[in-house]
């Protein structure tokens, strides 16, 4: 099978055989650099590209199952890394919040909270999904929805992180933790249980 590929957002540039195409995909440092489509589906590719659809839609044109598997895998990993980078950038952006950001008396998180939040996030695998929010009284909140009934919230104010966990209808607060490693271990252990 002959496969054409290109950088995303650009016209198809190369036509290679399946083995070489798979190698290109596997070796790509960033999945966004490479997209593939079987010859004969060019209209679909061009149409999807014009509409700026996601890679996942584009790969549905590929007939070779093995290639598709590799792409899916790469795509998932890429999405997770992208999501994690977004969280990191979001946390960094909290330092630029102005007073009253919440429409009331919200203040921006202090630098210690930003550093601790970044330490915690960077210590967690990108497999663990989380959300980050500023807290109106100068902190950062990390939220983890592990399952439908299990939620963990880490509130970081200054250089202290406190953990709040809800399992089912019961919630409780754990002790305050000062070290990122301790928080990371707690989250990891919970993630593995889930």
């Amino acid at each position: 099978m002959k496969i054409s590929y290109s950088k995303v957002g650009e016209p198809l540039t190369s036509t290679v055989n399946e083995v070489r195409a798979k190698t290109s995909i596997t070796n790509a440092s960033s999945f966004r650099k490479v997209a593939m489509v079987v010859l004969g589906s060019l209209d679909g590719w061009e149409s999807a590209r014009a509409q700026n659809r996601s890679i996942r839609i584009i790969i549905s044109f590929i007939g070779a199952q093995l290639v598709k598997g590799i792409i899916d895998s790469e795509h998932n990993n890429f999405q997770k890394i992208e999501a994690r980078n977004e969280i990191v950038n979001k946390i960094k952006s909290f330092e630029h919040l102005t007073d009253g950001w919440d429409g009331y008396r919200g203040t921006r998180p202090g630098p210690q909270a930003v550093v601790l939040a970044l330490e915690i996030v960077s210590g967690l695998s990108s497999e663990i999904t989380l959300q980050a929010f500023p807290i109106p009284f100068g902190g950062i909140q990390l939220e983890f929805d592990f399952t439908k009934d299990t939620y963990i919230e880490i509130e970081i104010v200054g250089s202290t992180a406190s953990i709040y966990r809800i399992t089912g209808k019961e919630g409780f607060t754990c002790e305050n933790l000062k070290f990122a490693d301790t928080v990371i271990e707690y989250i990891k252990s919970f993630a593995s249980e889930s």
């Binding site: 919440d102 429409g103 959300q131 929010f133 109106p136 939220e143 929805d145 919630g171």
Partner: protein, 131 residues
């Protein structure tokens, strides 16, 4: 409107910021952070309905905050969650009230904030500033 107490059947309104960073991508709801307070400033600001039309309330809350959204909850539901209410009129806003974590005016703790996150209904979505 009773100036001494917030009645149980009153609706309470609160502003929601317009930046997408405060909204959850998964279900487009906001986070409990918007309902948390600390010991230093334990009061969570809300506006009482004061027997006004909802359109008027929203318009009033969004004065000088055009891009923001507004969420509401009924007083008795928040009481069920564990909240306490006190009228707290301001010179520029006679409808202002405070939500606290207890009758002793303690902060709104994370458990209560999490419960209120689920009870507050968005009546006017914010104009999100970034996609």
């Amino acid at each position: 409107m009773n100036p001494q107490i917030v009645e149980k059947d009153e609706w309470l309104y609160r502003r929601c910021p317009p930046d997408p960073m405060y909204w959850k991508r998964t279900d487009n709801t906001t986070s409990s952070i918007l309902f948390k307070t600390d010991a230093l400033n334990p009061e969570l600001s809300v506006d009482r309905d004061g027997s006004r039309m909802e359109d008027d309330i929203v318009k009033h809350i969004l004065t000088d905050h055009e891009m923001y959204g507004v969420a509401k909850a009924q007083c008795h539901i928040c009481i069920t969650c564990g909240a306490s209410f006190f009228p707290s009129p301001l010179a520029e806003n006679q409808f202002h009230a405070g939500i606290y974590g207890s009758p002793q005016k303690e902060k709104v703790n994370r458990g209560l904030a999490k419960k209120m996150e689920k009870e507050f209904i968005v009546v006017q979505a914010p104009i999100l500033t970034v996609d």
